[in-house]
Amino acid sequence: MARITAGIGTSHVPAIGAAIDHDKTQEDYWKPLFDGYMPAQEYVEKNTPDVAILVYNDHASAFSLELISTFLLGVADYFPPADEGYGPRQVPGVEGHPELAWHLAESLILDEFDMAIANEMPVDHGLTVPLSITCGQPDAWPFKVIPLCVNVIQYPQPTGKRCFKLGQAIRKAVESFPEDLHVAIYGTGGMSHQLQGERAGLINADFDNAFLDDLTADVDRLVNIGHMEYLRESGSEGIEMIMWLIMRGALGEQAKEIYRHYHVPASNTGAGLIILEAA
């Protein structure tokens, strides 16, 4: 049977991708951030999964206000990098895992999660930057990826509690897949940041560090953070952290912290990374 062994939480700031793509990772501004990413790359290299479920959000790249999906699973064989106005990122295309993706779609819908299913879509920095952060610059990504796209742009986003429950259901669904697969799950986005308004540039390192702590110490507190608290304390775009709770939910009751890193700033964002293992 398939098993979710590890969870990775990481910011997915576009400027991080640009720094990698334009070889700036050793510049003063970026070096402290990227030094902190090296142990994560080593971890992923030593523990390469067969498939990663990558929870992210689309930033008006593949989708638009015309149709907003709350939770969407990508079931395609292949997902091309999106053109976000600079031309598509020069990174490998993303290979999907349609068998497991369809299995997830079917299990989750029968388990009362109202998933949307996408057969064709490009993937933007929300998905490719976490791959770059944890895999560097390979010719091909070292594992297959199932995109799980969450609405975090349109209020109301799904609640943190709903996200956590979705993660729990994903764990159950993966474990009912007959093939022996090593599955990792990424929760991406955040941490504290606000791109808009007179309050643009907001960072709340205390909130972020407490969030990282409580992914192992007090999951219950995190699950009960409401939208108002995210918006107020972590900035209007900090609400992306609900996506980390899908990852956390998929690891089961107990999880062990393997590594963490936190750095301010990456562009306008508090950049966090954590590696968790299911106990």
Binding site: A15, Y29, H59, A60, S61, S64, L65, E66, D83, E84, G85, Y86, I153, Q154, Y155, P156, S192, Q194, L195, Q196, G197, E198, R199, A200, G201, L202, I203, N204, A205, F207, H227, M228, L231, R232, E233, S236, E237, V264, P265, S267, N268, G270
Partner: protein, 127 residues
């Protein structure tokens, strides 16, 4: 529905009301994803903007690159930022223009740890 997020200072939560107000403005921005559309907009902004049934205020906010004004009129930052990409203007520059700072000041604020949440939580509580 509890709209208490209006109590957060300097923050435009993109809810249903904003979505409705800004739909065509945002869909104009979205159209700039396509190179042919960027060319058409560069070539003749007036004619291009005519394709989108916006209010006069919205149109003026776009023409003036009034980033705050666009948000106030229903713009969403992920959409309006497509105009910044078109203009080759950075997120820090836009952040500065929305908060009355230069790009360099904004960048330096971020290096110094960002804008503090202290004093920026609530209009009513002033904290």
């Amino acid at each position: 529905m509890d709209k208490n997020y209006h109590d957060i200072p300097g923050t435009y939560v993109f809810d249903g009301t904003q979505n409705r107000a800004g739909y065509h403005l945002n869909m104009f921005c979205k159209s700039l994803d396509v190179e042919a559309n960027r060319d058409a907009f560069r070539n003749d902004p007036d004619v291009y903007l005519d394709r989108y049934p916006m209010t006069a205020e919205q149109r003026k906010a776009i023409e003036d690159r009034d980033w705050l004004g666009m948000l106030q009129l229903g713009g969403n930052i992920y959409y309006t930022f497509k105009i910044a990409i078109f203009d080759q203007v950075s997120m820090q520059a836009v952040g500065g223009m929305m908060s009355n700072m230069t790009e360099e000041e904004f960048r330096q604020m971020m290096i110094n740890g960002g804008r503090s949440v202290e004093g920026n939580r609530s209009k009513s509580e002033g904290n």
